[in-house]
Amino acid sequence: MQNKTDFITKVHQKIHKKKRQRVNITSIALSICIVVSLILYQNYSYTDSEQFLASLYESAQIEVYKWEYMEELTQEELLLYLIDEQSEEEFFDLADKSNELFSALQSVKWEKK
């Protein structure tokens, strides 16, 4: 009888162990699913943000290119810019120092209005 009781106890121990194993396996599987879905979600949002940054960078680059490819000012334009934007003192100061500006000034045909 003792043997029979022992046998039943051992069977129940094994059943208990198997149940615990099943719970563990389910937990591990669930954890893996959660981690995988989190990684996938993160990748997705990262791609989104990356795309957003890329578009910003692209527009910024376009701006840079505009500056880079802007046609050079002609001497006359440069002079007009200086007349409009700079103070008189600065203008003469610059004209003294810059040969370019000096030659530009010489090339202008001054007319009386």
Binding site: K4, F7, I8, K10, V11, K14, I15, K18
Partner: protein, 175 residues
């Protein structure tokens, strides 16, 4: 002695004691059946416990289409097959050691032991049939039901098993 069906229904209703009674009622049958082929006390006990663990988890799916005993035989047969599959794998890894032990053991074997050893060498299907036919003395129809094969197929496989056993015994005695 309560009948299996009542015990199963009570167990499925949550009465664990009924499951224990079911174990007690069939333990000796399962143990005997396994020991006849495994011939190792500890392994037999372990396998026997595993069989009832399987019964515990699979009983929910038992539809009473066959008797509980037939269903139990099927589980026992599967467990024995798995056991031998594992043994085969272990043999692959420890071939030399096994051979050495086998040579030492060979001289001490009785005729009965030799027959059990030869039965273990048979292919799975034939071994199952020998186990159920010779050791359990079941009719071919029941064997067919247990192994999900026809009665005739069981008879043919049994004949082939006998032929193989004869062949093995010739080799064994020639040694």
């Amino acid at each position: 002695m309560l009948d299996d069906k009542t015990l199963i229904i009570e167990f499925l209703d949550g009465d664990v004691e009924s499951f224990n009674t079911l174990i007690l009622q069939h333990e000796s049958l399962v143990y005997g059946m396994i020991f006849q082929v495994v011939r190792h006390k500890e392994d037999t006990e372990d396998l026997c416990q595993d069989v009832f663990v399987k019964v515990y988890f699979k009983l929910k799916r038992f539809r009473f289409e066959s008797t509980f005993k037939t269903w139990l035989y099927r589980i026992v047969i599967n467990s024995i097959n798995n056991y031998f599959r594992k043994q085969k794998l272990l043999t692959w890894f420890g071939q030399d050691l096994k051979e050495e032990l086998a040579t030492k053991e060979h001289d001490n074997l009785t005729k009965k032991d030799t027959l059990y050893k030869m039965t273990n060498k048979l292919p799975n299907k034939q071994r199952n049939i020998v186990l159920l036919r010779i050791y359990q003395d079941l009719p071919f129809k029941t064997i067919g039901n247990i192994l999900s094969i026809s009665e005739n197929s069981a008879k043919v496989s049994f004949y082939k098993a006998k032929e193989n056993l004869k062949e093995y015994s010739k080799i064994s005695y020639a040694k």
